[in-house]
Amino acid sequence: MRGLMSTSNHSHGGAHVAHHFRDAEHQFDSAKQGIWLFMVTEILMFGGLFVGYAIFHTIYPQMFSEGASHLDWRLGFVNTLVLIASSYTMAMSIHHLQKNEKDQAVTKLWITVLCGVIFMVIKAFEYKAKFDHGLLPGHLLNVEHAHAVHANLGMYYGFYFCMTGLHGLHVLIGMGLIIWLAIRAKRGDFGADYFTPVEGVGIFWHIVDLIWIFLFPLLYLVG
């Protein structure tokens, strides 16, 4: 078994190959395949919400239009750019690790976290404005205070808070994971021979960006 192992996994500490894998390559591919299976569950989870939105949007087009009119597309636009930048720095951190450029990789990871912070701060301001105006999901909607034309406007905000809330939760979890990666990368755990956790978290972070790519036009523009 040991004879089959790659010899490239001794530097950078973390590249220990578990006994049920042929070599480091096999271990990396298996981990990545697991991440892609997880991504399918993410696509189907958010996909269900998107299809639900499409169904009720078709039934109540004016109500959804009213809901979208309360959102400031400029904030959604800035957040789209922030997430694109963060996806770029995340991808670049892997590029640097593959070239054993540790310091640049660590910097790129921290910039990615910073982008996550900016995204969440903007999101918090948006949520605060919705709470203040009584624009809340379901029966929590304050029809008088929100000056709601449609009494069922709470349905739009049900979708809005479920979809952006679930997405925001993914951003927070992603940020936590990237902080963990940045600390480990700084410690020298990763390099060209071993960067599996960075690759996996990277794919997760990109799907968070990908979901926002659809959420932005759906919630803020088309409505």
Binding site: W36, M39, T41, G47, V51, I59, I84, I213, P217
Partner: protein, 114 residues
Amino acid sequence: MGSHNNHSGGNHSHHIIPKEIYTRVMWALIVCTLLTVGFHYLFHNVMHGSVLAAPVAFIIAAFKAALVLMFFMGLKYDKPDNRLIFATGFFFLALLFIISVLDIYTRIAETSTL
């Protein structure tokens, strides 16, 4: 390396995607986002509503998503296994969407008084 390792590259080291590709993809995504907002302004503020608004916004979004999947998530350079896993998930989502659309337009939209 195992002889029965059907890795597409067959290469021991991982494919390093050039920095220039990531930079170009990022700028393409930014330009597409500006296009999305530009078209929204055109359809919403200039034409005061158009049936094209939603299709155009989602075609651009789909193009952006394809860029993220192929380059940032690396599916273009990945093993066929992972592309198949993604395609399977996408297929069932598309199936859910198509069946829902058929239902809405042939049943609910026909009979609902809403």
